[in-house]
């Protein structure tokens, strides 16, 4: 489903290369975990997948279902089924959460040639998804993410993911800022979305999240490259011994 080939990327307008020849393949139905020390390029990779224009791809390609996405803007990528759950979701004052959800869902439907949702159907879907994440419905009356706690923002991201039903979910440190109960709720939300036609890329620092969202593959990112891949036991090894051994091995 996702094929990243020899990807090189730098911060737009500078010579600072962050991604340096990254290769990664994630199949449909697979949950891939990406781990790595601070500054290894994990968040940058997630932004590049979503199409943020602060980064410029200088070499290589990203194929999604066999098609290069590099020329697509973020909205086109989203409409094709790519979803990034942000590490730090933006607070957007003045944009009502419900209005935002409706516009987002209907924009994607429109791009896929589907009819807009009827209002009662839309409200029903939002209510069900919010309940499954134990979200207080009053939060949805507020402007988007404004005044939400860190945990509430992460839940709101997963709510959006449930409603938009993407095919490729990229979770950027969704576990950061969550207490144990919230971590469980958010993980259950992600697990409920696991399906044979959907892939999930989980970016995290900690093994803890991977106890709840059990990965099929684990990849270690260091200095903009995948230096080691393995199964879920790799995450346990990293938790026990740190990154030093893996980095040395790769050097």
């Amino acid at each position: 489903m996702l094929e990243i080939k020899n990807l090189h990327a730098k911060i737009a307008g500078t010579d600072t290369e962050i991604i340096r020849g990254l290769n990664l393949t994630v199949k449909a139905g697979e949950v891939a975990a990406i781990m790595g020390p601070n500054g290894s390029g994990k968040s940058t990779l997630s932004y590049i997948l979503a199409g943020r224009d602060d980064y410029e791809v200088t070499e290589g390609d990203i194929l999604y279902n066999g098609e290069s996405i590099l020329e697509m803007d973020p909205a086109e990528r989203a409409a094709k089924g790519i979803f990034l759950a942000f590490q730090y979701p933006m607070e957007i004052p003045g944009v009502a959460t419900m209005e935002f959800l409706k516009v987002a869902m209907n924009s994607q439907r429109k791009a896929r040639g589907e009819e807009p949702l009827k209002i009662p159907d839309f409200i029903k879907r939002v209510k069900e998804a919010a309940a499954s994440l134990s979200m207080n419905p009053d939060m949805l009356k507020r402007p988007l993410n404004v005044g939400f706690s860190g945990g509430e923002k992460k839940r709101a991201e997963i709510l959006q993911m449930k409603l938009l039903e993407p095919k490729l979910c990229v979770l950027d440190e969704t576990d950061s800022g969550l207490d144990i109960d919230a971590l469980k709720i958010v993980s259950d939300g992600v697990n409920a979305l696991r399906s044979p036609d959907r892939a999930v890329v989980v970016i995290t620092h900690y093994q803890r999240l991977l106890e709840h969202i059990v990965p099929d593959s684990v990849h270690v990112l260091y200095k903009g490259q995948v230096i080691k891949s393995g199964d879920k036991s790799l995450a346990l090894e990293l938790e026990a011994n740190g990154y030093a051994g893996v980095i040395e091995e790769a050097a």
């Binding site: 979503a50 973020p74 990528r77 989203a78 979803f83 933006m90 957007i92 959006q160």
Partner: protein, 422 residues
């Protein structure tokens, strides 16, 4: 002996001076009114204000007013549905009152052409100073309008809408409104039309004690029109005035807001939106006097500027020496949507009392790229995402009106503007 270098008159100045000579015999007015007219045209003869006059620094009227439309009372105008359904509408077309005196219970309406000859109106034509160019042009030429008197204690259930429609001609009108003690009313002022008109309009509102007035100005002139206007108000004791304005059109626009909190406990709220596009030049200049103790005011102006448009907000708050315990807050926030868009903000606080709370703030920003990315990452196309963010920026100003039909009507106006301009 002083030697006056008489500057050459601009075509616009010449047009005004010549038109005054031509129209003098047709202008209604008792002798006192005619004396005011004569004084006013003398001020026009001395020249329209330039950037060297401080209050006109960002709007050099002499340079910007390149031509003046002809008078033509018969120019065709397009009928306008009221902003809020069910409103009582009084219409002016090319400066002439077309509705009769028929009014609501407790509200008397007189054509200004009649008021101008009844011996009472001359003081209302006084200018606020040598820089009162809008007042001068209007006082010289004003021939009609509506004089509205709302009796003590009247609560209007439906808004009163005053429509000033133009069909490409020159017109000068006045809308004096007196709201008695305890009156509750919403008054909507519409300024629109179809041509390259030159329009001046002076609204004068006198608010009695304990009254609550909401005044809404919606200016949607075509992008060829010159529109200069004043809104003057005096607020009585424990009375409330909420002023909302929306400038969404015009080529050259100046809206002056001159308000005096004259009675203790008076409250003034101003919320405004300037939607500027193309080559528009729009100036909102406010002078607010806190003249007595224990009055309060808040002013919030939000601006969207795109194309090569230029905007100006000058906000001056004078807190008089006697006006202790004044509470005044003013803010002006601008969102620039294009590289050539411009906005100038000049807040001024002049405080002579020592026990007051006054503050002001101004910001100029562009659309936050991280916000845009977030919305687009959820599949919202760029144009729609920008629209959401721009509306979000304005939403606060409009939603605060807390009057559902009014908020809905104004949001519809915003949407219309976005459809064609963003």
């Amino acid at each position: 002996m002083n030697i006056h270098a008489t500057p050459q008159r601009t075509p616009a100045e010449t047009a005004f001076v010549d038109a005054f000579g031509d129209r003098l015999t047709q202008l209604p007015g008792d002798p006192a009114v005619m004396v005011k007219r004569d004084g006013a045209i003398e001020q026009v003869k001395a020249g329209l204000p330039t950037r060297r006059i401080e209050s006109w620094h960002y709007t050099d009227l002499r340079r910007l007013l390149t031509s003046v439309a002809d008078f033509d009372a018969a120019a065709s105008t397009t009928a306008l549905a009221p902003l809020i359904e069910g409103s009582k509408v009084l219409t002016l077309a090319n400066g002439v009152s077309v509705d009769d005196k028929a009014a609501l219970d407790g509200v008397s309406v007189v054509r200004l052409s009649e008021k101008l000859v009844d011996g009472s109106f001359a003081p209302a034509l006084d200018l606020y100073g040598s820089d009162d160019a809008i007042g001068a042009v209007n006082s010289a030429f004003v021939a009609d309008g509506y004089f509205v008197d709302i009796a003590d204690g009247i609560e209007l259930e439906q808004p009163l809408e005053l429509q000033n429609l133009q069909g490409g001609a020159q017109s000068h009108v006045r809308l004096p409104v007196r709201a008695g003690k305890g009156v509750k009313a919403t008054i909507v002022e519409r300024q629109t039309g179809t041509g390259a008109a030159t329009v001046s309009c002076v609204s004068q509102l006198l608010i009695g004690d304990d009254a609550e007035i909401t005044w809404v100005i919606v200016q949607e002139q075509p992008d060829t029109a010159t529109h200069v206007a004043q809104f003057k108000a005096e607020i009585g004791a424990n009375a409330k005035l909420r002023l909302f304005f929306m400038n969404a059109g015009g080529k050259l626009v100046r809206q002056e807001v001159i308000v005096k909190a004259a009675g203790e406990g008076a409250e003034f709220t101003m919320r405004g939106v300037n939607l500027l596009s193309g080559d528009a030049h729009t100036d909102v200049t406010m002078v607010l006097d806190h003249a007595v103790p224990n009055t309060s005011s808040t002013e919030l102006v939000r601006n969207i500027v795109t194309g090569r448009a230029k905007g100006v907000f000058q906000g001056r708050i004078n807190v008089h020496q006697y006006a202790q315990k004044t509470d005044a807050k003013m803010a002006c926030n601008t969102l620039l949507l294009s590289d050539d868009a411009e906005f100038s903000t000049k807040p001024e606080l002049e405080i002579f009392a020592d026990d007051v709370q006054c503050g002001h703030g101004a910001t100029v920003t562009e659309i936050d790229r991280t916000h845009l990315f977030y919305l687009m990452a959820r599949g919202i196309e760029e144009k729609a995402a920008r629209g959401l963010l721009v509306k979000a920026f304005l939403a606060e100003v409009i939603e605060e009106m807390e009057d559902e039909p009014l908020v809905e009507a104004l949001e519809a106006k915003l949407n219309d503007w976005f459809e064609t301009h963003v």
